[in-house]
Each structure stands twice: as structure tokens, then as C-alpha cells.
């Protein structure tokens, strides 16, 4: 278990060494810290996705919930609400949307991918219907979070690391974490041992919605505008990172440390492709292949045991 989390860590070191041959910037801590602000939002999604996957489910709707909340937050600002009110409302809305996913999946015994495929279309569709082709600007006071530093670290990175620690404690050090793992490895057995299976699912998807809302606010602050077509395909990246970090798609296994390493690994790979002038379309191909390879490798490792 613990050993598994180190694999993406080792891969991360290797990739930094390889990437530094492409460009010496990869050995420059400042450059890497700046780059991390681009990936912190997806990182938040990946943290929650890890729990969702460990519980034996998947959440395809995170990117759409994120963009819907980002657009709603911009609209709230337009209506003249203050920053604390908007943050509060956004987090509430994200959590409710996620919990609704979880509620229907738990109570109607629906496969999570179907349910979230539907809400993926609905949330993005709602954002599109609300915004149309236009974009809404955010107030100056709210933007530029990614530019400001604390103790030399950019804010988004701090938020990501803080969430990683909190969710890591939740998963690895609390009864709730045991429940999540139990539901994912054998739902029936968990039910018979008195685990509130339905409530676990609702909370896990609620957390996913909460992280999506947090990511939405960080994205709003970084771009300074909200549009319905931002963050397209970000769920693919979040799933890839969680799986790369060792979350087993069948459920029951995974670590937050692994996901954290995997996020930075993913960041180095993406940045290296950018430095090597690989076009975004081809980067997409590579990420698709990476996802499949990661799952394949995980399965082979499991069989080899």
C-alpha cells in the first residue's frame, strides 16, 4: 500500500531528470512553482476523484459542475454580491450538485458513470444556456490569486496541498476513510458490517462537488473571466491523475500521496510536451494513451502479486 504511492514519486523524479535535458527550466524551482498554478484546479478535482474511484464509482460531471459554478459565481458578482457571499454560495451550490449525484446513485442504485454522464451534459448545458457565447468579467479584487505568494509559494499550490493533507487525513486516518475503502472493495460486505453505504456515496460525491466549486473559484480568479467552454475535458485529466497515482478503477485501493505525486508527474509531462512544441491536440492523444497505460499497468501489477 505505502510502497505503491512511491511509484509515481519515482516516476516524477525520472521525468524531471529527463525533462531537464529538454530545457534547463525544469531544474528551476521558481519556474515549476509558477507552472503549478495551472494545475492546482485539476489537482483539487483529482483529490476528490481519488475518493470517488476508491469507493468504486466514477464522476464524469466534475468538469461541468466546475464550469457551471464558475459561471454562476461571475453572475453573482455582476449582481453585486461581495466576495465572501459569492465564495459561500459557490461552495454550497457545488456541494449540493455533487450530493444530488450521490443521492440518486445511492438511492436508485444507478451506475455512477451513467448518472454523471447525464449531469455532465446538464451542468455544462446549463452553463451554456445561461452564458451564451459571451463571457462575464470578474471584479478586480477577486482576480490574481495565482499571482500572489505566501511564504514564496503561490496560493493555488498552498490550497491544493492543504486540501491534499485534509483529504489524506480523511481517507487514511478516519473511520469515514475506512468506510469509503470498504464500500469500494465489497459493497455487500460493507453493508452487512453496518457501514452506511448510501450516506458514504452521498458524502463522497458531495466532496467531489465541493472540490469542483473550489476549483471553479480558483479558475475564475486566474482567468478573470468566466465562459461556458472553459475546463473542457478536465475530468479526463483528473481521472488520469487519480489512476496514475494508484487508485484502482475497480475500487477499494488508492492513496492521496500517490495522487499528489501523480499530479506533479502529470504537470511535468504536460509542460515538457509544451516545451517540445507538441500541439495541444496531440497532447490530448498522449493523455488518452497515458490513461489506458496507467490502468493496464495497475492491473498487471495486481495480477503479478
Amino acid at each position: 500500500m505505502k510502497f505503491r504511492a512511491l511509484i509515481p514519486g519515482v516516476l516524477l523524479l525520472l521525468s524531471i531528470i529527463l525533462a531537464s535535458r529538454l530545457s534547463p527550466h525544469f531544474l528551476d524551482a521558481r519556474y515549476l512553482l509558477d507552472t503549478s498554478t495551472l494545475y492546482a484546479e485539476m489537482g483539487l478535482l483529482a483529490l476528490a476523484m481519488t475518493l470517488v474511484i476508491i469507493s468504486g464509482n466514477i464522476d464524469l460531471s466534475v468538469g461541468s459542475i466546475m464550469v457551471l459554478v464558475a459561471c454562476l459565481a461571475a453572475k453573482f458578482f455582476e449582481k453585486g454580491l461581495g466576495i465572501p457571499a459569492v465564495i459561500f454560495l459557490s461552495l454550497i451550490i457545488g456541494t449540493s450538485l455533487g450530493s444530488l449525484n450521490g443521492y440518486l446513485i445511492a438511492k436508485l442504485k444507478l451506475p455512477s458513470f451513467l448518472m454523471t454522464l447525464g449531469t455532465m451534459a446538464i451542468a455544462r448545458g446549463a452553463a451554456q444556456a445561461m452564458m451564451g457565447p459571451s463571457s462575464v468579467k470578474l471584479p478586480k479584487a477577486f482576480t490574481g490569486l495565482d499571482q500572489s505568494l505566501v511564504l514564496g509559494l503561490p496560493w493555488p499550490l498552498i490550497i491544493f496541498l492543504l486540501c491534499a493533507v485534509l483529504i489524506g487525513i480523511l481517507l487514511h486516518r478516519t473511520v469515514f476513510g475506512r468506510w469509503v475503502t470498504g464500500v469500494g472493495s465489497n459493497e455487500k460486505a460493507a453493508l452487512f458490517s453496518g457501514v452506511p453505504v448510501d450516506r458514504v456515496k452521498i458524502l463522497v460525491f458531495g466532496l467531489s462537488g465541493l472540490m469542483a466549486a473550489g476549483a471553479a473559484l480558483m479558475m475564475d480568479s486566474r482567468y478573470g473571466v468566466a465562459r461556458h467552454n472553459f475546463a473542457l475535458g478536465i475530468e479526463l485529466e483528473a481521472i488520469t491523475v487519480a489512476v496514475l497515482g494508484g487508485a484502482a478503477i475497480k475500487g477499494g485501493e488508492g492513496t492521496i500521496l500517490g495522487t499528489t505525486f501523480a499530479l506533479f508527474l502529470f504537470m511535468v509531462i504536460k509542460t515538457a510536451m509544451g516545451v517540445a512544441n507538441v500541439k495541444p491536440e496531440y497532447q490530448l492523444t498522449a493523455i488518452g494513451v497515458l490513461l489506458i497505460l496507467a490502468v493496464l499497468a495497475e492491473r498487471l501489477r495486481r495480477e503479478g502479486r
Partner: protein, 314 residues
């Protein structure tokens, strides 16, 4: 049967409500637009139906459609005199090859089809750009013989049944017959409803899985040629993008059990008709394209919820 009635009810309600609001929706011209939307959705839905009945899902069909449209577009650009059946066959072949990639990874890699096809959805889309070098296949490159498949057909009064529609309906007929008479289809249903029981009855799960995804890819490939014929151009980024949602919605509302083991061609056809009608209804009502995705999502959600509620009652 009851699910087919439900689909009919949805169609009837849609026509009644939209027709009251905007009588133009009941005119033959809008029926013609609906019938022109149907063929592409239908061929893709037939392939997806097999996958869904087997208990799986294929998210990558939109990207396969794009690849096939690009490849066939590039070939007819060089050889404008290529006979239409050959073009259709080529599209089918491209789709089959890509479908086999999915099939091989799912069958022998034993990875969940959702994850595999999410991965290939991205990878095949990149392949579209790689094959086309980022260039759109323009209308001038697609010969008239191909686009006339969408323009011409059998005319019944004011209604035109385009050759594309007829082709897709013939395909649907073939699928329906196969579902009734072909032994392989029986093992498909058996496998979808209970894989381990099917295994004990001597049905090879691997063979079923492999050919279901290969065929689904082939149908998406056919859809690529139809796309080129209908729209007269193929764009590497937009061709077939997001179509998987429409198609899954059509299959779901058509009464196929989304967790496998049950589905029928008639229902799927009704589902395709409903989704095509929704598409045209939105434009007739002057609702902008931004609402389409919301509508598709709502249809999927309704179908999924009905499925879930129906199962809970049992």
C-alpha cells in the same frame, strides 16, 4: 414493449407541445429535416445498442466518426470518381479497425470499457488532427455522388426519404433480424444480463466483447461517411464531437437497459427519431444551439432515472 410505448408517448408529447407553440414544426419541411438528422444517429445508435446490451458502453464513437470522415474525405479528394459503395465500405473499414483497438484493449487488457473509451475518445480525436494535418476537408473536395446521398432519395409527396435514411433503415432491419434469428445475438443478450451464467453455458465472453466493440466502431465509421455526405465537409475538431451523448440518449430512451441484457431495435429507432425531433424542434422554436446540450442531458437523465425507478419497483 411498455418502454417502446413510453418512447412513442415522448415523441407524441413533443410534437403536440412544440406544434401548438410553433405550427411550423408540423409542416413537411421540418419532418424532412428530422429525417435527414436521423441516419447518422441511427447507425451510431445501432452499434451502441449492441454494446449496451452486452453490458458495456462506448464513449469514443464521435471520435471514430471523425477519423473515418477524415480518411474517406482524403481518399475521395484524390479519387473523385470512387464509387459510393466503396467509399461507404472504406468508412466501415476505418471504423472497424479503430473499434478493434477498443475491443482488443477491453477484451485482453480486461479494463473497464468506460475508461478505455474515455481514453480513446481523446486519442482518436488527436488522430483526426494527425491524419488531416489540422486541415478541414472542404465541400469542394467531396464529390457530388456522395453528397447526393443526402439530397436525393425516394419522394413520397412532400416527404423525402434520403438514400442515407434508407441505408440506415436497411441496416436497422438487418440488426433487428439478427437479434431475432442469429445465435450470436442470443449469446450477446445472455452475456449482458449475466456474464458468469453465460460463461457456464459455454458462451465465450471474450468473443462477444471483442466483436461488439469492433462492430460498434464499424458502425461509427459508416456514420463518418454519412456525416461527410450530409454536411459536405469534415472538420477534424467538430466532426462527431459530443455525438456520443446524443446516441447514448437515443439508446437509453429507446428502452435498452443501460446496465445490459436488454434492448430492441424498434425502440432504438424511436429513440433516434425523438432525438432528431428534439434537435429540429429547438431550432424551429428559435432556441439557440446553446440549449441543445441541456436537452440531451435531460433526456439521458430521464431515461436513466426511469430505468432506475423501474428496477426499484421490482
Amino acid at each position: 414493449m411498455r418502454r417502446n410505448l413510453a418512447a412513442l408517448f415522448f415523441i407524441f408529447t413533443l410534437f403536440a407541445v412544440v406544434g401548438l407553440y410553433q405550427p411550423r414544426f408540423l409542416a413537411p419541411s421540418s419532418l424532412n429535416s428530422i429525417l435527414l438528422w436521423m441516419p447518422i444517429i441511427t447507425v451510431l445508435a445501432l452499434g451502441q445498442l449492441l454494446v449496451v446490451v452486452s453490458g458495456g458502453i462506448d464513449i469514443s464513437i464521435g471520435s471514430i466518426l471523425g477519423c473515418s470522415g477524415i480518411v474517406v474525405g482524403l481518399i475521395v479528394k484524390e479519387h473523385p470518381t470512387l464509387p459510393v459503395p466503396v467509399a461507404l465500405g472504406l468508412g466501415l473499414l476505418v471504423g472497424l479497425v479503430l473499434g478493434m483497438v477498443n475491443a482488443a484493449i477491453i477484451t485482453w487488457g480486461k479494463i473497464s470499457p468506460l475508461i478505455v473509451t474515455i481514453g480513446t475518445l481523446a486519442s482518436f480525436r488527436g488522430l483526426c488532427f494527425l491524419l488531416s494535418k489540422g486541415q478541414q476537408i472542404d465541400g469542394s473536395m467531396i464529390p457530388d455522388s456522395l453528397t447526393s446521398l443526402a439530397r436525393n432519395g425516394l419522394t413520397l409527396g412532400e416527404i423525402t426519404l434520403s438514400w442515407l435514411l434508407i441505408l440506415s433503415l436497411v441496416g436497422a432491419g438487418g440488426f433487428a433480424l439478427a437479434m431475432f434469428y442469429y445465435v450470436g445475438a442470443k449469446s450477446l443478450v445472455a452475456f449482458g444480463s449475466n456474464p458468469s451464467a453465460a460463461h457456464l453455458r459455454g458462451i465465450s465472453g471474450n468473443a462477444v466483447t471483442f466483436w461488439v466493440y469492433a462492430l460498434c466502431g464499424a458502425m461509427a465509421g459508416l456514420g463518418g461517411v454519412m456525416y461527410a455526405a450530409k454536411f459536405g465537409f469534415v472538420n477534424p475538431s467538430s466532426a462527431g464531437q459530443g455525438l456520443e451523448l446524443t446516441v447514448i440518449a437515443a439508446v437509453a430512451i429507446g428502452g435498452a437497459k443501460l446496465t445490459g441484457g436488454f434492448g430492441n431495435v424498434t425502440g432504438t429507432l424511436l429513440g433516434c427519431f425523438l432525438l432528431s425531433s428534439i434537435n429540429v424542434a429547438l431550432s424551429v422554436m428559435g432556441v439557440d444551439a446553446n440549449w441543445q446540450m441541456l436537452a440531451y442531458g435531460a433526456v439521458i437523465l430521464v431515461a436513466v432515472l426511469v430505468d432506475g425507478l423501474a428496477r426499484r419497483e421490482k
